[in-house]
């Protein structure tokens, strides 16, 4: 036990005395969440819109006027045919396209069912979703006024269509995504680099020629990064709630439980990487390319999994971060309980067990 | 003709005086041994002479150029070889030579001739295309020396060039040094092998940043009443007080 304590203390010394690394470890997650957070909350003003209005009646004129007078939008042009829509987006002149159905007012009065299509450029999902949200809100306000006057239940179906990235999900996605990224980065990358460093410096050589069991070497490496990861997770959570206003609808306990399991998965991946290489640089690149890229690209953080080619969807299933992000989203945003994310917890636990087993088995008790 | 002139050279790092007011001269074609215990200030002094580090005070001229005012000219006229780094292991023998030829601005048609001549001198023409990492250590060391004098520098600085080399290769290496000196290249060399100090024309021994002895090995042995350089080194280095800093 004393072996373990001294050795763990040593790992803490390494981290605490390397001020820049320490700073990076703690500041990086905060910077990420703040950067992404700004992406989410930035107000958009004076965005150019185009309108295609085949009805040209009282209701459509009123709605267009409301849009135009709001601080968010400037009407840049009327289109004469829906064929021009694609073109005008390609030219990148406008941020939002408003398309009214034919005989809009008539339908609104008689069937209580008129249609508006809002089209936005999905390549910039955050802006797109903000624009469509504002437009929808303005349309709803008009509807409300109409209802107040006529005392009739009108209904406008506002349909949102995003070009290029049709199923943009809520901006809240970002927070679980950043959490997955941060935990994966710190646990896997730092563990693999710190073991590779001992091999590079030659200290591993001396430690191996000692009665210190390999399991203890590994565990004492893992403890500090585990601790730092929990601190980071807490920091990100606090920032998400108080700075970005992302709600925590589910239980904190479940959030932490899922995160701890995910941390174990990431730590085990770091250990596996370190058993493959003896060099810090290789460990760094492998963690960054081999782990970070899939997390960013395939976990649904940036691109929705449903829209990927089938083969990538398959690969996405074995990416731990995908399950983690899903579970966090369910608990944090949707407020689901532990029972609802039991599948994710199960899969992550299985991954943790398999990876920890493999990494302990692969940990080299000799130099080669 | 003097090719190295150091006058009251001093280098301080904060309060610590690494090189303390050293003065000496080296003649063209001389083999000058620069001895001292670990931490005596040899490396710092050598860095100043190579134009890599500015002296805190004092002057130095190497190959006729001021080490503080014209470090680039100094660098163009010296060669440098250290035990730690000398050659790119993942380049072939000729690629290493060509690289250094290129660095020192030798015209490419001359480079080929010179590569041929250098390899012929070492007797390793057949290894022209070999990766440096697969050469035996003794050959690497000799090749590193050829590389250091590839551009015919006026002076070549050798920092512990023979560490860990087998006895035979060590002697072959020194024969290369002699040949270079005969061609008029001045050789400035540090070593931990005291028998190698005997091969030098003159030897200086640094203790705690100062030059405590400087003369030919023969005169030094008389002066210190010693049988060999090893005894002189021990007499002097034992006096060191900062060895433990």
């Amino acid at each position: 036990m004393r072996q373990f304590i001294t050795f763990t203390r040593k790992e803490f010394y390494h981290i605490l005395r390397d001020r820049w690394t320490m700073l990076m470890l703690l500041a990086f997650p905060l910077i990420m969440i703040i950067l992404f957070g700004f992406g989410i909350t930035t107000e958009i003003k004076n965005s150019k819109i185009a309108v295609y209005d085949p009805s040209k009646d009282l209701a459509t004129q009123n709605i267009i006027k409301k849009l135009e007078t709001s601080e968010y939008f400037i009407l840049s042009e009327y289109l004469n045919s829906p064929d021009q829509i694609e073109l005008i987006f390609k030219e990148g002149k406008i941020g939002l396209m408003v398309v009214f159905s034919e005989r809009f007012y008539e339908n609104l009065i008689h069937t209580g069912d008129a249609q508006i299509l809002l089209i936005a450029d999905g390549t910039d999902p955050n802006t797109a979703s903000t624009l469509t949200n504002y437009a929808s809100r303005i349309i709803m306000m008009y509807l409300q006024e109409l209802t107040d006057i006529e005392h009739l239940p009108f209904q406008i179906n506002t349909e949102v269509k995003l070009l290029y990235n049709p199923t943009l999900e809520g901006a809240y996605n970002i927070v679980p995504g950043v959490m997955g990224m941060v935990l994966m980065l710190i646990c896997a990358l730092m563990t693999s680099v710190s073991i590779a460093r001992e091999k590079e410096l030659g200290t591993m050589e001396v430690i191996l020629v000692s009665p210190m069991p390999p399991l203890l070497i590994v565990l004492s490496k893992v403890v500090p990064y585990f601790t730092i990861s929990l601190i980071n997770f807490t920091n990100v959570l606090i920032l998400a709630v108080f700075l970005l206003g992302v709600p925590v609808n589910g239980s904190l306990f479940t959030l932490y439980l899922v995160s701890i399991i995910f941390i174990f998965v990431a730590l085990a991946l770091g250990l596996l990487i370190s058993s493959v290489t003896n060099r810090q640089l290789v460990a760094l690149l492998m963690s960054a390319m081999g782990l970070m890229m899939p997390v960013v690209m395939l976990s649904g953080l940036m691109f929705p999994i449903e829209n990927m080619p089938l083969i990538l969807q398959g690969i996405a299933q074995i990416i731990p971060a995908k399950w983690y992000i899903e579970a966090i989203r369910d608990v944090m945003i949707k407020g689901l309980g532990p029972a609802d994310v039991i599948k994710e917890i199960g899969i992550l636990s299985l991954m943790a067990v398999v990876l920890i087993g493999a990494s302990l088995k692969k940990f080299k008790i000799r130099l080669e | 003709m003097k090719v190295i002139e150091a006058e009251n050279l001093t280098k301080k790092f904060g309060q610590f005086v690494a090189v303390d007011n050293i003065s000496f001269q080296v003649e063209k074609g001389e083999i000058f041994g620069f001895l001292g215990a670990n931490g005596a200030g040899k490396t710092t002094a050598m860095r100043m002479l190579c134009g890599l580090s500015k002296p805190t005070s004092g002057q130095g001229k190497v190959a006729g150029f001021d080490i503080e005012q014209q470090p680039e000219k100094v660098k163009a006229n010296i060669g440098y070889m250290s035990q730690k780094f000398a050659l790119y292991e993942d380049l072939r023998v000729w690629e290493n030579l060509r690289l250094y030829g290129g660095i020192y601005g030798i015209p490419s048609r001359e480079i080929n001739e010179k590569i041929h001549a250098a390899l012929a001198q070492l007797g390793i023409e057949n290894e022209k295309d070999t990766m440096v990492k697969s050469l035996p250590l003794g050959w690497k060391q000799k090749l590193a020396f050829s590389t250091a004098i590839f551009h015919d520098p006026k002076i070549v600085f050798l920092d512990e060039p023979t560490g860990g080399v087998d006895p035979l290769a060590r002697r072959q290496f020194w024969e290369l040094i002699y040949e270079a000196a005969d061609r008029g290249i001045t050789v400035f060399v540090t070593t931990h092998y005291m028998d190698e100090a005997e091969y030098c024309n003159r030897v200086s021994v640094m203790v705690d940043g100062k030059i405590e002895a400087l003369d030919s090995p023969k005169n030094l042995k008389k002066q210190f009443d010693a049988k060999n350089m090893d005894q002189i080194f021990h007499q002097l280095a034992r006096k060191a007080t900062r060895g433990n800093n």
Partner: protein, 308 residues
């Protein structure tokens, strides 16, 4: 029982044969030196004996334990100091020592007597980070760390490489003290002059042992006639000596040249080739201040003879 018993150990790296089958025994309590240049296979051998590497073939027993099967036992009782400085540079002197004491499940106090002489020299700097120590002090700290658990056998891989002659001498004095404590020491070095400080040595070159014996016996077995020669122009002397048909080899050794001579005269004359013949030859080549003496070989002469 032997402290170390090695039988026909072979080890390749890719296609390079690092060890071509070496066998030797180390007696308990002796200082056994493995002497040879870099790349001869010393580090590979040490790593096999300290259970860090597996040999391709052959067996090795360290203090009665097989290096493959009983590696855990061996790791408990040997001390190992690798060639490069392998301590934590960002930890202090004392922290390093504490870590090594605790991974060997002991304390600094328990075996303090063993490291006292060595550690006392660096104790004034115990709060300094290891990375900021001078070469000599790093070496002392590394040795203290390797000794802290009172190992039965100490493996020192090139402890004196790159160290100046004075520090090297001090280091060997420390080893002599440890020997008195009954610790068996295996040490490797590229410096031939350190051979005489060992009880027995193995000369190693290109993965094979050239000879295993006490330094004295190796020197006694030197078969050739060896003269030391000097003149006023040592550089030219070397070249001139090599042109003489009775001189087989000629190498610079400090301030003299060592030549091995064939004393048979080719024409079948009765006298053997002697000092006077050589002196005449050199005078003819206009050398002056000529001195020729017959000398006993040193380890370096032996190594060069055996290597040829």
């Amino acid at each position: 029982m032997h402290a170390v018993k090695v039988h026909e150990i072979k080890r390749n790296y890719n296609k390079v044969e690092a060890l071509k089958g070496v066998s030797f025994e180390v007696r308990p309590g002796e200082i056994f030196g493995i002497i040879g240049p870099d790349g001869a296979g010393k580090t590979t051998l040490f790593r096999i004996l300290t259970t860090l590497l597996l040999a391709d073939s052959g067996t090795a027993i360290v203090d009665g334990n097989d290096v493959v099967k009983d590696f855990k036992e061996i790791r408990k009782k040997v001390g190992y100091m690798p060639g490069r400085f392998s301590l934590y540079q960002d930890l202090t002197v004392e922290e390093n020592l504490t870590i090594f004491a605790s991974i060997f499940k002991t304390t600094i106090e328990e075996n303090y007597h063993l490291i006292k002489d060595i550690y006392q020299q660096i104790e004034p700097f115990k709060n300094r980070r290891a990375g900021a120590l001078s070469g000599g002090m790093k070496q002392k700290l590394a040795l203290s760390c390797a000794l802290i658990h009172k190992p039965v056998i100490l493996f020192l891989d090139e402890p004196t490489t790159g160290v100046d002659p004075v520090s090297r001498k001090e280091f060997w004095e420390m080893l002599a003290n440890l020997k008195r404590e009954g610790i068996t020491i295996l040490v490797s070095t590229p410096y031939m002059d350190e051979a005489n400080l060992c009880d027995r040595i193995a000369l190693i070159r290109e993965g094979s042992f050239l000879k295993i014996d006490s330094p004295q016996n190796i020197v006694n077995q030197y078969s050739k006639r060896l003269w030391s020669v000097r003149s006023n122009d040592m550089s030219r002397l070397l070249k001139d000596l090599r042109t003489h048909k009775n001189i087989m080899t000629c190498f610079a050794f400090g301030d003299t040249h060592h030549v091995t001579v064939n004393q048979e005269k080719p024409s079948g004359e009765e006298d053997r080739f002697g000092f006077k013949d050589l002196k005449d030859f050199l005078e003819e080549k206009s050398h002056s201040e000529i001195e020729i003496t017959a000398i006993d070989a040193g380890i370096e002469d032996c190594f060069m003879e055996l290597a040829n």
